[in-house]
Symmetry: C2
Subunit: 254 residues, 2 copies
């Protein structure tokens, strides 16, 4: 497999840094190719804005159409184009980050804001002009694995835990971004108690990561319902006969 | 009221820009004081890292303790201190942004990453050493209103909609950040169909915003359960007799 490993932690001498190095070695030992986007090391700019496109400041900026046009004409910022080239090379995406305020660090959120542009990861249409999204889209053919560390204990990020279940908290990324753009999304690896982890917990986290990386080519993705053929009506609402009476996020899984 | 309005849109000549100006005028007409953090105009740096603190690069960076120490010793970066001064002045926080990839633009996510530091918005303890969070914390006494625009249509962001219900999609912000740090969190104002909005939709959005701003001092917050006294056990899991048998995010509301 061709794996793009996107890493968003400010300190390589951390549990996250150790897991990234360990996981990269594991993948290579299994014969996979690995490239990295180490966002802090790259000094990645996470702020989407007029500098991403050849924008005429006399006109109001509409970022979606502007980035789509810039991409089509080769005028998209070089750092974004470089990430597109990596994504086009890769068939697998690993996103590794510490969970900050129950989401991605800004530097990684802004990787999506700037790289997942209109016409590439959203606003993609088929020959009949229908939107391709949720289970089909610009990133179809990629699988994605989220690896995140949290200071919280496991129970607090589990079912009925005070922080919300990790898969629900990560829904905007797992479903609303990765599945939206057509990827197969594997269950996330959530390493809890990271703030208090000693050598034994580090070793256990590395072993859990190894298991997930070994299974990467064959693991079953989260069974999210595709937008087309998955049971949504013309208003994009799930048909009443599916998961009847429920309104929780898990209705979007089969 | 003293309102801090945090605005995260790259284009003032947009629906978002018009709503911000309109809402500011409404608040002032009602006798409230308003200050702004216009993150794009300020060229806010959203990347939390060693430059936020007086960090010795020979030592591994542990951002939580490092920022807490820097704040205590006056060594926190001046732009963060300026936001703390605004928050200390304010009793009300308005967060306005376009919904990008089902979350905040990176520039706003990084406002939380950098401003909501340990000892200020998390890792705050009472006299007995117990964590103050979820309904009590460093930002207790503030109320918060989220105003967001989305390209999606309303049904898709409603119950059983393909994108997930807006309050669930925003759970990491509403519950995991704002309520976590002790604020009273009002139901968000979600303006859908923003990509296709003409003058009539703009006027309707402004009227909806006016209604919410007029009710700002008295509106009932989302009835999230507080961590302490709200029915969580010592593992931070909701007691089985509350919302029995359910595992959705709404169990965290009374």
């Amino acid at each position: 497999m061709n794996v793009l490993w996107v890493f968003a932690h400010p300190e390589p001498r951390s549990l996250n840094g150790a897991l990234r190095d360990h996981g990269t070695a594991t993948l290579r030992r299994h014969g996979h190719r690995v490239r990295h986007s180490d966002l802090y090391a790259m000094r990645w700019n996470p702020v989407a804005g007029p500098a991403d496109v050849a924008h005429d400041p006399r006109e109001p900026l509409r970022l979606g159409p502007a980035t789509e046009h810039a991409r089509a004409t080769g005028a998209l910022a070089p750092d974004i184009r470089a990430e597109h080239a990596k994504l086009d090379w890769a068939d697998t995406l690993i996103l590794q980050f510490p969970l900050w305020w129950h989401g991605m660090p800004a530097i990684l959120k802004g990787w999506f804001d700037r790289v997942f542009v209109q016409g590439y990861a959203f606003g993609v249409h088929d020959a009949e002009g229908r939107a391709r999204r949720y289970g089909d889209g610009g990133l179809t053919g990629h699988r994605a694995l989220v690896v995140t560390t949290a200071g919280a204990r496991a129970t607090g990020l589990g079912p009925r835990g005070v922080h919300g279940d990790a898969e629900d908290v990560l829904f905007p990324l797992l479903h609303g971004t990765l599945f939206y753009s057509g990827m197969d999304v594997l269950p996330p690896l959530v390493i809890t108690g990271a703030d208090r982890a000693g050598p034994a917990e580090h070793a256990r986290a590395a072993a859990r990561l190894d298991d997930r990386l070994t299974a990467l080519p064959t693991a079953a993705p989260i069974p999210y319902r595709p937008e087309r053929g998955g049971g949504y009506d013309d208003d994009l609402v799930l048909r009443p006969d599916l998961a009847p009476g429920r309104t929780d996020l898990a209705v979007h899984r089969t």
